[in-house]
Amino acid sequence: MREAFLDADIFWDQFPDIVTRAARNTLIFTALAFAIGFGLALVLAMMRLSPLRPYRWFASVWIEVFRGLPALITIIAIGFAMPIALDFRVPGIYGPGSVALGIVYSAYMAETIRAGVEAVPRAQVEAARSLGMTAFRSMVSIVLPQAFRIIIPPLTNELVALIKDTSLLYVLGTTAATIEITQYSRKAMLDTFNITPLVAAAVVYLAITIPMTRAVGLLERRNRRAR
């Protein structure tokens, strides 16, 4: 029983490859998808808050669709359906997976950013405008910096969820170059006929997520003290 779940030899056999290759790929997918998702989300949030109706509609439809669909469907759509239907494949070995997850998470993050912007009192905008700032400048220099402080906790949740969701990218097929933690451990499970690699994967995930949430918590407390 103990051997099947936690065989010390098999456990340590996973290292350092599970870190240097698998965890590295997980983090690369996460970083790329977060950057893409955050950039899209920022634009979508501004569109949702826009006085212009077509912008609001476009953003609403985008958010509803990609929040409403299972992430797997979006991943398959970007990775397989789009190259077939449109004859366009996102370039790069990390490209399709990062873009697909970026799109999925842009829907969640756009709503988070919008809520943060709406939480900044209108009086802040009035003060900024009274000093001659344009609407755009008020948003960039006054509202968004305050909004980001407000949304750090929910944004951290989304980042943690994103780290874990990179495991869904297995549906796009895995090569040795792009294999991430979950898929790496599943392959090792089959090779060793033992569940221990999965335990190693769990340890690696937690070694990433726990320090990260801790660091954000610390940052947040320091922020609050400064205010």
């Binding site: 009086a123 009035e126 003060a127 405008r129 009274s130 000093l131 700032m133 400048r137 400064a226 205010r227």
Partner: protein
């Protein structure tokens, strides 16, 4: 009126700084301003008094178009600011505004509050902006608070930072919207003292206030508003001590007279 009552050099002699004509503002079915006309000359200090809901804050907020009037006209130094072609962001640089709730930027230090618009709007260098900010903060007696965050300051200090922040843009006129109403009584004096100093320095000021003592000592002219119209206006002695209108008398009796610097 101050002895040195001469027009500022950038404004042609005789041209009002602020000229409001037959201004109307409706919020839904509620008509808050029902035809208000008001002129402010260079270096003049005009205090607007009146019961809450009389439209005085709305009038003030229309002057820099934080509120869009329903009808009427507003000219700032001769420019029609309700013209669709008017670049309101350029006009607002000339109009400093101080709010009841201070509205300082909480994510910035005192210095940051005073420099951000200078740098982003006027494109001043950081060094120039900071020099100006320190000078204006010294003017309101807060030279030693430059690195504090606003929440660390008392209400009176925050409001003086807000005054300095507006002054940093080098405005030709200042709007004050009940700036002492949110303050503890013992903090009111320091803010009024800064405003009085500003008036003595020749700033054109339009002040919505409940401080009758301030209006009496500092204003060149007092305007009494009620129910969306100007009921009476004139020198403070006349409006405050010998009001012609029954409505003005009633209001002054109700508020009593609060003495302050």
């Amino acid at each position: 009126m101050p002895a040195d009552h001469v027009p500022a050099d950038h404004v042609p002699a005789g041209q009002p700084v602020i000229e409001v004509e037959d201004l109307r503002k409706q919020f839904g079915a509620l008509e808050v301003l029902r035809g208000v006309s008001l002129t402010v000359q260079p270096r003049e200090v005009v205090c607007i008094i009146g019961p809450s809901g009389s439209g005085k804050s709305t009038l003030l907020r229309c002057v820099n178009r934080l509120e869009e009037p329903t009808a009427g006209s507003i000219h700032i130094e001769g420019e029609d600011i309700l013209d669709p072609d008017c670049e309101i962001d350029l006009v607002r640089r000339k109009i400093g505004m101080v709010f009841q709730a201070f509205n300082l930027f909480p994510h910035l230090t005192v210095l940051g509050n005073c420099t951000i618009a200078q740098r982003k709007v006027l494109r001043r260098s950081r060094a120039d902006a900071e020099e100006q900010a320190r000078a204006m903060l010294a003017r309101v007696g807060l030279a030693d608070k430059v690195d504090e965050h606003p929440v660390r300051l008392s209400g009176g200090q925050q409001q003086r930072v807000a005054i300095a922040r507006a002054l940093c843009m080098g405005p030709d006129m200042m709007l004050f919207d009940e700036v002492t109403s949110a303050l503890d009584p013992e903090l009111v004096g320091e803010v009024l003292a800064s405003m009085r100093q500003l008036a003595e320095d020749g700033m054109t000021m339009l002040v919505v206030t409940h401080e009758m003592g301030f209006a009496r000592r500092v204003a060149d002219r007092v305007v009494f508003m009620d129910d969306g119209v100007i009921v009476e206006e004139g020198p403070p002695q006349q409006v405050l001590d010998a009001p012609r209108e029954a409505r003005t008398r009633r209001f002054l009796q109700q508020v009593g007279e609060r003495e302050s610097p």
